[in-house]
């Protein structure tokens, strides 16, 4: 199992897309072809966890060849973080092919071609270890997604597509500038992630320069996440996007943002990350609460889920910028969870749309009676999204929050407490939504005869629900590969504690109440520290 596996996984969808382009416009055949290709990709990607060396940290399955001259390489590799994100992607794509089975009947070929191209680009983003390559894939995700929204969306689809495109485009040029700047100042004259890391570490750049670079990367990722003030493209994009689009947008594209924050902002700029953590965490917490509150009052099912994403991704960012191993583990896990639970929610919303052609709550109500199975699936998705223990959502949220709570970044405790209030809000808006859709009397007579979900839809939902349960009870299986990756991405998790303890006094105070009474506390800290290095 050498690097070739990653190349296969990444480019099989592209090849498939090419094949689809050449196929005749026979919708049925096209659907099946797309399904087979995406499932094949998923099957292929299963090799990664199978042959992953869980003992080792760092990147595996690496492939590194010259691409353009000596400077730009085709360098791919997977570690515990990217591997699972890859699997998430390859899992969600066949699923979204299934949900688009009937809902897409016009320009089917283009749709699946775009879908597969999108998959290729997304996989590339998670696997690229050469910053240039990374940027190439990063931008490459933009077009297919924008087209998917714009070609297959609903009424205001064009506005949404353009908004999505411009938001991301404007933001990512800053990242490009930062990347080029780093390349220019990189003595090795290449775009290697590792090389960038140590040129930043030992390049002796002024902190001002590093701060600007940090921000350059940050803005690009913050828009994708999306972090609080930059989130307004998300609701529009989601509401207008076709179901498959929403699933992948929420399930994977947003993760690209958090992945970037973790891998690059924190991974390459440890000191800046610590230095900026407080306002970033503030934004994250605002996002958590703000997203929830706005979700609470949405009259539109999909908008509600979209805003809930803002809230959930807030947890992820909080976890990453808690700069603790636990918090970041939780954040990575939460990425996967959100992909699964929110993906499922969007699929369910889409199924409802296929039947009712609206997302407005006032059109629903009492649907539990005509669609019991659907209601059950929906309930499970909601619960996993609410973060009910024994479902996946809880593990992530709990680790994020407890990580943040113990973190020594400024006001860690405060952020954790505010963030924890998310559990209340989550319950509020999601149960509210569930009640609006399923409980009470049926007000619209046509709803009485709505068909329950059929076999295809069940098949498309089952994997996600099952994963939600498994990931809720068997998290160590994932952690054993995620944690080493996290540790090697942010070895400073321990270091920062030490130094930031010096310069954040209010944190010292927190400790003081304990320190005399409780050597245990200190023990824990050191333990985490050592845990960091190992």
């Amino acid at each position: 199992m050498n690097g070739s596996i990653l190349m296969l996984v990444t480019f099989l969808p592209a090849v498939g897309a090419l094949a689809l382009m050449l196929m005749p416009r026979n919708d049925r055949a096209l659907r099946w072809a797309a399904l087979i290709i995406s499932i094949a990709t998923f099957g292929l990607s299963l090799f990664l966890p199978m042959y992953y060396d869980y003992g080792a940290s760092g990147f595996q399955f690496e492939a590194n060849r010259n691409w353009i001259g000596q400077t730009i390489h085709y360098h791919m590799g997977a570690d515990g973080i990217s591997m699972w994100l890859v699997l998430l992607t390859t899992l969600l794509v066949p699923v979204s092919v299934l949900v688009s089975w009937k809902s897409i009947h016009d320009r089917v070929k283009e749709f699946f071609v775009l879908l597969l191209l999108l998959e290729m680009a997304m996989l590339g983003v998670f696997l690229a270890l050469d910053m240039f390559l990374f940027y190439v894939f990063w931008e490459a995700t933009l077009i297919p997604m924008a087209l998917l929204i714009g070609m297959y969306g609903h009424e205001r689809r064009i506005y949404a597509a353009v908004k999505f495109f411009l938001y991301t485009m404007v933001a990512s040029v800053f990242m490009l500038a930062a990347i080029i700047w780093l390349y220019v100042h990189n003595p090795q004259h290449n775009f290697e992630y590792a090389a960038f890391r140590d040129v930043i570490a030992h390049g002796g750049f002024s902190s001002t320069a590093l701060q600007w670079l940090f921000l350059g990367f940050f803005i690009a990722f913050a828009v994708k996440v999306p972090l609080f003030p930059l989130h307004t493209w998300l609701p529009d994009a989601h509401v207008e996007a076709p179901t498959a689009g929403s699933v992948l947008l929420a399930g994977v594209l947003l993760k690209m943002g958090t992945y970037g924050l973790l891998r690059f902002n924190v991974g390459m700029f440890p000191d800046q990350a610590a230095y900026n953590s407080s306002w970033i965490n503030t934004l994250a917490v605002i996002g958590i609460i703000y997203g929830a509150l706005v979700a609470l009052v949405q009259p539109n099912l999909k908008k509600l889920i979209a805003y809930s994403s803002v809230s959930h991704l807030g947890f992820v960012v909080l976890g990453i910028f808690s700069l603790t191993t636990i918090g970041t583990d939780g954040a990575v896990y939460q990425m996967l969870n959100h992909g699964i639970s929110t993906g499922a929610l969007f699929m369910l919303a889409g199924m409802l749309y296929e039947r009712k052609h609206t997302y407005e709550f006032k059109e629903f109500g009492g649907l539990a009676t005509p669609m019991p199975v659907y209601a059950t699936f929906f309930l499970l998705a909601v619960l996993s999204s609410v973060g009910l223990p024994l479902l996946n959502g809880f593990v992530g949220e709990f680790l994020v929050l407890s990580g943040t709570f113990q973190s020594t970044v400024p006001h860690g405790m405060l952020f954790a407490i505010l963030g924890s209030s998310g559990v209340i809000w989550g319950a509020c808006y999601l149960l509210w939504m569930y009640q609006k859709v399923f409980y009470g009397q049926i007000h619209h007579s046509e709803n009485k005869t709505l068909a329950d979900i059929d076999g295809r839809e069940r098949i498309s939902l089952v994997p996600l629900v099952v994963m939600a349960v498994i990931m809720g009870v068997a998290s160590p299986y994932w952690m054993k590969s995620i944690e080493p990756a996290v540790v090697s991405t942010m070895p400073q998790a321990a270091g920062i504690k030490a130094q930031s303890q010096k310069d954040h006094n209010q944190d010292k105070l927190n400790q003081k109440t304990v320190a005399p009474a409780l050597p245990a506390a200190v023990v824990v800290q050191n333990a985490t520290a050592t845990g960091g290095q190992k």
């Binding site: 001259g69 931008e139 490459a140 087209l147 485009m169 800053f174 080029i180 220019v184 100042h185 001002t208």
Partner: protein
């Protein structure tokens, strides 16, 4: 003994070949029936461009055999170094594709005269010569050849008032600018007693006198006009709108590339770098004016005209970097821009149909449904113009900004220029995207479906698309050429590089980043 050797003829072989073919076309034209299609002549002209490329290969072979080939010939008039050879390759290729696009176009516009192709070929002679000329007078004449031929071609749709107007505008303003250029040449002659670029540089040294400075300024005016850089860009939209689409394809790339070649030769001849701030300003202005001007355009040709202004701006960023990377970036950019822009205008000229009826953005609505392939190719070109990765446009931009950031003269200023450029390219994505949006996301507004593209047009589109993708994915080979060209351009690249960091009154050259 005869001072003119074979090697000298080889030095101008492409020009000779093109001239010969041009004359053939010209002679053959009267033999054809007045009403008959001139496709045949077009094919001959195409053969001419191909032959020119072949001639260039012959030059390459020769230069490989004979080291003295790269030294000036014709009594120091031309210098066929790898820089010149790059453009000897590029420009005939551009003309060839434009001719391919014209074959169908002329019939569609029902223009029945073969001079068209002859003019393209002669114009190409001028452009090719511009890239290898090292003597201001020769440059001037070559410039005039290419300009005058494009003046005429711009006015080729004689039934159409717009075409005539664009011709007159282009002609008057062009001559106006040429006069400035010429005045500059005169002053340069006065300052140095010579007009050979090779002699000017040493004569001026790094601290030229006022005359020389004024001369440089005036020449920048003239050439800035030709490359449509702000503040001399103003003619572009009108001329491009009126001129026949394939000709726009040509003149937005061919003469531009040649003019940039001249600009490179002229600016980097003198080791003084007084012009850096000017170029900085021109670059920033061009990018901004171009992109913002295009935002609200509803006429695709005008929109692309503004975009070409903006792209001239990006290219000038590479000049502003004024280092070897910058020069090679500029050379590469001309090629990439040629690839995508020729393609885009080829699509426009095909879609425009008879009398160029359909040139507004809305006309493109639903093209994605009605002729997916055409839409797809146009999408490729648009994406490349936006600068989406895996297209020529992206790599070209990347190299330009890379050059700007790696410059060691005024780093801060260039960082800002880079930021301006990147933000601009983000803004620009809006109006390029608009075309994609209407093609794929709106329903058709015009009844008749676009006529199927002729074989030649298909070929032209495919070539342009392949070039765009190739330069975006596998640019290695072309890059090595452009780097070689950059090296030959200024034999003492290091000297130039160091001198760029010479004294200058450019604002805000504060080092924020102590690069180790």
């Amino acid at each position: 003994m005869n001072p003119i050797q074979t090697i000298d003829y080889i030095r101008i072989l492409p020009e000779l070949v093109l001239t010969v073919f041009g004359i053939i076309v010209m002679m053959a034209d009267p033999l054809l029936k007045p009403g008959a299609s001139r496709k045949g002549l077009g094919l001959i002209a195409l053969g001419g461009t191909i032959a020119a490329i072949a001639a260039t290969f012959c030059q390459i072979a020769w230069s490989a055999r004979d080291a003295s080939f790269a030294s000036p010939g014709w009594f120091g008039m031309v210098r066929v170094d790898s820089f010149a050879i790059f453009f000897h390759m590029l420009i005939p290729a551009i003309s060839g594709v434009c001719i391919l696009a014209s074959l169908e176009y002329l019939d569609a516009q029902n223009i029945r005269s073969g001079e068209y192709y002859a003019l393209i070929l002669f114009g190409t002679v001028g452009m090719v010569l511009m890239s290898s000329a090292v003597e201001l007078v020769l440059i001037f004449i070559a410039l005039e050849i290419s300009s005058i031929s494009t003046y005429i071609l711009a006015g080729y749709r004689r039934r159409n008032a717009g075409s005539a107007e664009s011709a007159i505008k282009y002609f008057l303003l062009g001559s106006f600018a040429t006069a400035f250029f010429l005045y500059g040449v005169a002053l340069m002659f006065g300052a140095t007693g010579s007009t050979s670029i090779l002699k000017i540089g040493p004569a001026l040294g790094s601290n030229p006198g006022l005359l020389a400075i004024a001369a440089t300024a005036l020449m920048i005016v003239g050439l800035g006009f030709k490359v449509a850089a702000a503040p001399f860009h103003i003619w572009t939209p009108d001329v491009y709108e009126g001129a026949p689409a394939p000709i726009v394809a040509l003149m937005s790339t061919g003469p531009k590339a040649a003019a940039f070649a001249v600009l490179l030769r002229v600016l980097f001849a003198t080791t003084s770098s007084d012009w850096l701030p000017l170029i900085w300003i021109c670059a920033a202005l061009s990018m901004t004016l171009g992109n913002f001007g295009a935002l609200m355009q509803n006429n695709v040709k005008r929109m692309l005209a503004y975009s070409s202004i903006a792209h001239a701006g990006y290219l000038l960023v590479a000049f502003a970097a004024s280092n070897e990377i910058g020069r090679s970036a500029a050379i590469f950019y001309t090629a990439s821009y040629a690839a995508m822009n020729v393609g885009a205008f080829a699509v426009v000229s095909h879609f425009g149909a008879g009398g160029e009826r359909y040139v507004s953005v809305d006309d493109y609505s639903g093209l994605g449904r009605r002729s997916p392939l055409l839409a797809f190719t146009l999408t490729i070109f648009m994406l490349s113009l936006i600068g989406i990765p895996a297209t020529a446009g992206f790599l070209a931009k990347y190299y330009v900004f890379n050059a700007a950031l790696s410059a060691n003269a005024h780093p801060t200023a260039l960082v800002w220029l880079t930021i301006i450029g990147l933000v601009n390219s983000a803004v620009a994505s809006y109006y390029y995207l608009r075309l994609i949006v209407v093609m794929y996301m709106r329903e058709p507004v015009i009844a008749e479906a676009p006529a199927p593209a002729s074989g030649a047009m298909r070929l032209a589109l495919v070539l342009a698309a392949i070039a765009t993708i190739y330069l975006g994915v596998m640019p290695g080979r072309v890059l090595t050429y452009s780097e070689a060209g950059a090296r030959d351009l200024v034999p003492t690249a290091t000297a130039a590089g160091s001198s760029t960091s010479g004294s200058s009154t450019f604002p805000g050259t504060v080092e924020t980043t102590p690069a180790k």
